[in-house]
């Protein structure tokens, strides 16, 4: 029983990291109806930005809250700027182009970032700065609550609550929902869709930045292709929850994190990825719109 609870905690911790990245996919999809394949590489750049900045400040072996916050801010700022640049330079010129062109461009941007990363950062893995010491924070029975998991949970929950507030309580959030619902009408009511789209990229990318530091803390080996697998899984999580639906992305990510942890714990770690993509296939067959997605039948 203790084992089981321990696995739940680990699974939720992993799931909340997936959620941070899945939110970026789902928000951009919600507003532009496109899959931003470069999102996982924005996440990778966030990790490297934090790595180099920590070395620059000489705080790579200086674990503590201050280091954590500094690196979170650095990764968020760098990711937002990169996300903004990608939107401005790669996607905006194609706003009126067919969806397929934008999709292919997104794949291109993704490959560009991955291989530029190998040239600029080097293909060899780097060791992420020690953000925090991993120690047992609480012990309830035999269940250990470690500082890493608590940090991951706390930071993700704060980030998601901030996002929730932003989307549902502020004018820019309302504008985001309006543009997502119907961009041309929003424009006629005085909302500048380009600004809202750029803002969406900033928010989504900065959440990926948060994710990158948390992953770097937990699995401190970073390389330019590190975004591939986690990006794919976050994408599956977004589809699982219903792409375009913010709550769905979080739900999907938690399911992914938990099921992955359970597969590793009770079956075999060989099947962790197979299981993740198995879920995707099943969802696409039985609920193509995702768990919380609305499947709309086009009226004729």
């Amino acid at each position: 029983m203790q084992d089981f609870i321990q696995h739940i905690i680990n699974g939720v911790s992993l799931g909340s990291i997936y959620a941070l990245i899945a939110l970026g996919y789902t928000m951009v999809y919600g507003i532009l109806k496109m899959i931003n394949f470069a999102h996982s590489d924005v996440y990778m750049v966030g990790a490297f930005a934090a790595y180099y900045f920590a070395r620059f400040l000489g705080i790579e072996n200086n674990p503590g809250i201050a280091t954590l916050i500094t690196l979170l801010v650095v990764a968020m700022v760098c990711c937002s700027l990169l996300g903004l640049a990608i939107e401005r330079l790669a996607y905006r010129p194609l706003r009126k182009a067919p969806k397929l062109n934008i999709l292919i461009t997104a794949i291109g941007v993704s490959l560009f970032l991955e291989y530029s990363g190998q040239v600029v950062f080097g293909a060899d893995p780097k060791v992420f700065p020690e953000v925090m010491k991993d120690f047992v924070l609480f012990k309830i029975g035999d269940v250990e609550l470690k500082s890493f998991d608590i940090t991951v949970l706390l930071v993700s929950v704060i980030a998601m609550l901030a996002l929730e507030f932003l989307i549902f309580k502020t004018k820019i959030g309302r504008a985001m929902r309006a543009v997502s619902s119907n961009a041309s009408v929003a424009s006629l009511l005085g909302v500048n869709p380009d600004r809202i789209i750029a803002f969406t990229f900033i928010v989504g990318s900065s959440l990926a930045g948060v994710g990158s530091v948390l992953v770097g803390m937990k699995y401190p080996k970073i390389d330019p292709l590190m975004g591939m697998m986690i990006g794919l899984k976050a994408f599956v999580a977004a589809v699982l929850g219903g792409i375009g639906n913010v709550g769905g992305a979080v739900l999907g990510a938690l399911i992914m994190g938990l099921s992955e942890e359970m597969v590793v714990a009770y079956l075999s770690s060989t099947y962790r990825d197979a299981f993740a993509f198995g879920i995707l296939i099943i969802i696409l067959i039985f609920r193509p719109a995702g768990l919380l997605g609305k499947y709309s039948v086009e009226k004729v």
Binding site: L166, T170, K171, R174, R177, S181, L189, V191, N192
Partner: protein
Amino acid sequence: MSDVLLEAKNITMQFGGLKAVDSLAFQVKQGQLAGLIGPNGAGKTTVFNMLTGVYQPTSGAVFLEGQSLQGLKPYEISHRGVTRTFQNIRLFKGLTVLDNVLIAGHQHMRYGLFAALLQTPHFLQSEKDLHDKAMELLKIFHLDTKAHEPSCSLPYGEQRKLEIVRALATDPKIILLDEPAAGMNHSETHHLMETIAKIRDQFKLTVLLIEHDMKLVMGICENIIVLDHGIKIEEGTPQKVQGSQKVIEAYLGVEEGL
């Protein structure tokens, strides 16, 4: 010149080989309730799309208070005070009735992102003002009790009204109504027209409306522009338009000599 609010100077819209609107010129005076009528496919909605920046006229230009709107994006034109409703209802379906109205009021709100995250008094006050104003507008159309319902759950007639409320919330100088009574029965239509006349007086608005139903336009419009195949065939008071041979021909067809 001073009392002309909106002026179209020889606007033409060409889609490939088709001239949907051909050098159309008209003026709408300050405070006027004007009507744009014409048979199906006459180009009425295309005119609205040019006035609001959805389309850029192929040639000619639109002027608001003497200033050209050429090259402006729809949201910039909205900021200058031109707003519209749609022939086929286009609400933000997933959003509540109130949110639909609040979005239209955004352009008059000035607070930054950090003010919102820190919940500064300025942020809270401007959100409250916007909210109060939206509720007031909803009340005029008796929609205030349904403010928190999803907009798509409203009955058809109320959705139409909500579109008008949403347009009013942008604080416009002129409101363009695209077939506001489409799909309504006779008494609903009658009621709506009274409301339109009422809001015109209350908000000191100028109204330009597209309508199919000739009777309705005749009832409330002061100036009527008749469009057929993209060309203005008549303009004037309801009496003048009603008696015009050209208008009768456009609507009923030319009598073939027997």
